[in-house]
């Protein structure tokens, strides 16, 4: 769903909030977004919510700029790594930005 359409929908829903049925709202799930699905792949090694696992660094608590700097560095090879270079090369620049947004939002 496009962001615009989503906004429109949310405005529409806001208008319905006065309906008594809102009181019964449950947590029926929305489908996970592309970036959530991709970020959840990182958690396999980096621990739940990116809190780190053993010597594997944490992602939670980092600023967006820390994450983008590392990932772009791994991708170009300018920043040395053991395994992350091989992972980061697979990501588009846009995906790196979005993953950084995701992990930076966890620490807010």
């Amino acid at each position: 769903m496009k962001r615009k359409a989503r906004l429109k929908l949310m405005m529409g829903i806001t208008a319905l909030l006065f309906s008594t049925t809102f009181m019964a709202a449950t947590s029926i799930a929305a489908a996970p977004s592309k970036i959530e699905i991709m970020a959840h792949a990182c958690l396999t090694c980096h621990g739940p919510n990116g809190v780190g696992s053993g010597k594997i660094p944490e992602l939670n608590g980092l600023e967006k700029s820390d994450i983008t700097e590392s990932l772009f560095g791994f991708k170009s090879g300018d920043e040395k790594s053991t395994i992350m270079g091989r992972h980061a090369k697979a990501l588009s620049d846009n995906e790196i930005e979005m993953l950084a947004d995701y992990f930076a939002s966890l620490s807010q």
Partner: protein, 430 residues
Amino acid sequence: MSQIYRREFIKLLGAAGIVSASSGILLPGIAAAKANARVVVVGGGFGGATCASYLRQYAPDLEVTLVEPHKEFITCPFSNTVLAGMKSMDYITHNYDGLRNNRGVKIVHDWVMDIDTIAKKVKLKGGSSLPYDRLVMSPGVSFNWNEIEGASEATSQIMPHAWKAGAQTILLRKQLEAMKDGGTIIIASPRKPFRAPPAPYERASLIAHYLKKSKPSSKILVVDSSGESEALALFRKGWKKLYKGMVEWVDGSQQGEIVSADAKSLSLTGRSVGTIKGDVVNLIPPQRAGDIAKIAGLVDKSGWCPVNPLNFASTLQKDIHVIGDACIAEPMEKTGHSASSQGKICAAAIVTELNGGTMPSVTYSTSIYSFLGPKYAVSSAEVFRIKRGKLVQISGGMSLEKASRKTRLKEAKFATGWYKGITTDMFAKK
């Protein structure tokens, strides 16, 4: 979408779902998830446990039942460290409490006897049936004993495979402990595809680590049906450095694999190696999808389960997904990390489809760590995407051959972090 944004959006969507149901207002493009949809997951390993956990994370109202016969799961990853005496069985043993208590997954410890794909029911040995809207099968592997004359489940009590961790791991460890110095250990690995392709090399390495300390005149013979590879080159370099003269590698590829076994004389016969005798024989047989997959009609003539990699839906049966070692997801290797990756993507796809959506294009990734010694490990990292309906590798490879000892040590530490991370993730531990 940020977490906060998503949370609000879910709440609103929840309200919208109820409003639309009660007042008949249609919301094009968005169908609220079927709150009472039932998903049954068969097999509580890396694929199944991860999938059940993420299904409930993505859709807390979904009824998710995990069917797994064993109350505890013993991981194949890190079982080689148990063989080497580096870790205990406890370290590789996990339970389902986290999935039950932290995720609300219903855990049923029972055997699946049959699957009625028309009535959409899983029949259990205990007599009950579990109806499903979607079924996820993660049955692991079964062994093709009939391809090795003289070998069977029974002879694995003498020549253990230790390719399903548990009693077999303990048996092989005991045999190694009982062996006299100067003995020969044979590790015979099957042709691909099989579970965890680099693991026979890791096993040879870690057994060598144990022998070097306690039985230094012993030898390990690896009869390898996979042949030369980038991974093998890295291991052979490490063996030379760490265990000079202890590990001998024999090419069993090109139809050179083991064809017969004699448990009485502890000998194996292969086309390229002739008859060889060991003091401890670790015979890892050829493999196929776990047998329950066949009962459900999910297996093609290769012995494995064809799937659409977008959502891991079976191409042979409707509303059934197959993940992990049992599915055909080449070029992804059959490993615990691949199964975990597939479990998450399958969970996301099921929730997306129940919401009436289409799966976005995402990456499929794996990291595989292998120890050559407690302070020396290498890794393989691979990332895939779907192109024209097929999984294609877009980056990755093995650790650099020229990496320093410092890097190998770092990877050994990361290997332990990986294990803690993936087991915390799949079992929803806190």
